[in-house]
Symmetry: C2
Subunit: 221 residues, 2 copies
């Protein structure tokens, strides 16, 4: 059975969730009190409804209880966000994800029973700071506080033209190259004799300290 979602608040964040869920063929009911925003999503979501979700009767009449997951993406109006969440909880919605504007907002949301609280701007700020500090780390997945998988650009004379044996990052840095991205291809578990191209992107797993060491060394000069 298809999962059914409700997205409340069609700003940039809520709108993007609505679009991404719809792209994956999910059933999505999109709600905003602003008619223009609702019209924007009329052809994207399965249903698009103009409604003020702080009104309990409205929420009930929409049958929101029957949906699998409700995302509250109301931002600036913290009071509406809290009130909407409270009412969703009372109606008996199983799974509620709410965007928080700050730590205080998060605290209240958790108290009243939000299942997941997200801070999109804060989290993306962190990610982008990461990318900005390093010229060579293009993207990353944080595995733990101390370990990551990172994408490292090989466009550097210390990397390109070398084989994986030449580099021997395992012995020298304790790192593993789990894949090489070459154009549209992904070479998983590359062989030791694989030669790195200038345009390659290395997918590397290891401790953050080792990754930093490798990055500094590989990128120096």
């Amino acid at each position: 059975m298809k999962k059914e979602f409700v997205v409340i608040g069609l700003g940039r964040f809520g709108g993007s969730i609505c679009r991404a869920l719809s792209d994956q063929d999910m059933e999505v009911m999109a709600i905003d009190k602003d008619e223009d925003r609702v019209n924007e999503y009329a052809t994207i979501a399965s249903h698009a409804v103009v409604a003020d979700t702080t009104d309990e009767a409205t929420l009930k009449s929409l049958g929101i209880r029957n949906f699998d997951h409700v995302i509250v993406a109301i931002g600036d109006d913290i009071q509406s966000s809290i009130l909407t969440t409270l009412m969703l909880k009372e109606i008996g919605v199983n799974n509620i994800t709410v965007k928080a504007q700050n730590d205080y907002h998060e605290k209240v949301l958790r108290k009243i029973g939000a299942d997941h609280v997200v801070h999109p701007e804060r989290d993306m700020g962190k990610r982008i700071a990461h990318n900005i500090i390093s010229n060579s780390v293009l993207d990353y997945l944080e595995l733990s506080d101390e370990h990551s998988i990172v994408e490292i650009a090989a466009n550097n004379h210390l990397l390109s033209g070398k084989s994986l044996i030449d580099l021997d990052v395992r012995a020298r840095y304790g790192l593993n190259i789990v894949a090489i991205k070459r154009g549209n291809d992904i070479i998983v578990s590359p062989q030791a004799n694989e030669v790195i191209h200038h345009e390659d992107i290395l997918i590397v797993i290891g401790a953050d300290t080792d990754i930093n060491r490798f990055e500094k060394k590989a990128m120096s000069s």
Copy 2:
């Protein structure tokens, strides 16, 4: 030499960048026209300045030209964002990253010479939609349009208690398990006889279609 950054606009997004850069011991000059916001970052950033960055004389007097990278995190006031970017470019700043509110905003920013344009709410919406659709995929790194590395929770009787040979995801799904996250440990390149624990998180690389297939199969019943 330490890299020096300027962050203009201390909302949630800009504030988070400022904090993350400062956490990594970078030199950061934090600027906002709102005094309260500047005060919030006075002890976090190296310098915190109240200034309207649409004023050219102000920008020049701050010596912004000498910084390595300027991040413009002004959101709602699109005109200020564009004007600030334009002036940074004219002053001769080398590296400018700007937050865009929509596609039109991005287009203008690129035309006037912004080096990087980011859409934090939109990107995070996509990420969170991904996480919401799947109960077992905890986090992911998009390698290409068709390949990803994903974190899959093993808390499922079809996975836990099995060895990697039992599962044989390579033959059956074309996937590779590049690591296992077990509490605070990361087991990189796990052996074939490694037995999966109920609390493990598998780090899996492969084609998205294969990952979806594996996830559906592993998670069914």
